[in-house]
């Protein structure tokens, strides 16, 4: 009888131990899962952001060849941006923000040197009173850049018929924020 009682108590103790152990293990696994999913989620976010970055990098490099900005009349220049189109484009930025999945697009003149400020109008850019023409957005974020040649129409060239003058520039692109 006493032995049965002792065994019964022992059994109950074992059940108790097992129960506590299971609770501890479950809490442990729960914490591990929490850490794993938070890392995974951060990883998915960073993968998505990285893919967005890659897209923006590719876009920065390709900007000079997009029909909206590329210099179509010159078949020799694969890396030329048509500033006359950029000036015209400036009025339709909401539409083009969606076309390229970007939040920010800016053309910067590197050479010849001019005042380092954002242009309010096309004539300021022509008169070299500014060097940054913002086409889309206003706040750069994680921008990707690429060198381009900026082509501006100069009516005085070619004996007054006009021709293209090329400057060294950079295109700045910010991917769409996730």
């Amino acid at each position: 009888m006493r032995e049965v009682l002792v065994r019964s108590i022992k059994a109950q103790m074992k059940i108790q131990e097992m129960a506590f152990m299971l609770v501890a293990v479950m809490i442990f696994f729960g914490m591990v899962a929490l850490v794993y999913f938070s890392i995974t989620l951060a990883n998915v976010r960073s993968q998505a952001a990285s893919l967005g970055d890659q897209e923006a990098q590719a876009l920065a490099r390709q900007m000079a060849t997009t029909p909206e900005l590329g210099l179509a009349s010159s078949t020799d220049c694969a890396n030329c941006v048509d500033m006359e189109k950029a000036f015209a484009f400036k009025d339709q930025t909401d539409i083009y923000k969606k076309l390229w999945n970007i939040d920010y697009l800016m053309l910067e003149r590197v050479y010849p040197a001019s005042d380092e400020k954002i242009c309010a109008a096309a004539f300021e850019y022509r008169e070299q009173k500014c060097n940054q023409l913002v086409l889309i957005g206003s706040q750069p974020y994680a921008t990707k850049t690429a060198f381009v040649a900026l082509a501006i129409w100069d009516p005085s060239l070619r004996n007054g018929n006009g021709g293209w003058k090329y400057e060294l520039g950079k295109v700045h692109v910010s991917p769409k924020r996730i």
Partner: protein
Amino acid sequence: MSSGKSMSRLNAYKKKGQEEMVGFVAIMLVVAIAFLIFLGIYLRKGPSTEVENFEISQFLESSFEVTTDCRLSSTRDPSDMGELIRSCSANSANTCYPSGKEVCDEVKESMMVLIESSWNFNETSPEKGYLFAVKRETNLSDQGIVSFGSSTPPTSNIRSAEKPLPGGIIMYLEIYS
């Protein structure tokens, strides 16, 4: 005697219980350490490095088109850098109109301005120095038709690109980080 026996059995059980607890804690510790090591290895893989010489390649493509102040003759419009490089390679005695400056000097000065406007070279910035050259394909070990650079000696971290031009000429730029 029986109480002595039960005492020793109780002690044995206590010891066993304690051993089990220690064992469980030891397992938890091993798993936790293994997890931390895994986490450390996983988080250590940093951002992948981009092929940066693409930036220099695009710089060379773009600067090739840039319109300079040099006219190759009185009847011509200002030439672009590509035309000046071809003219300099064909004959180093060619001069600009009306300044009379040698075309090769104009290439050197204009490219220097372009390069130093595009990157900020000093000891505290990521880019420490550079070397630019225009060379003939047939004689790459030579000084070059045009060659100049910053005074900083080359470091071990070099990015570079080259642009082949018609007539067997190569335009080359390397940047030290």
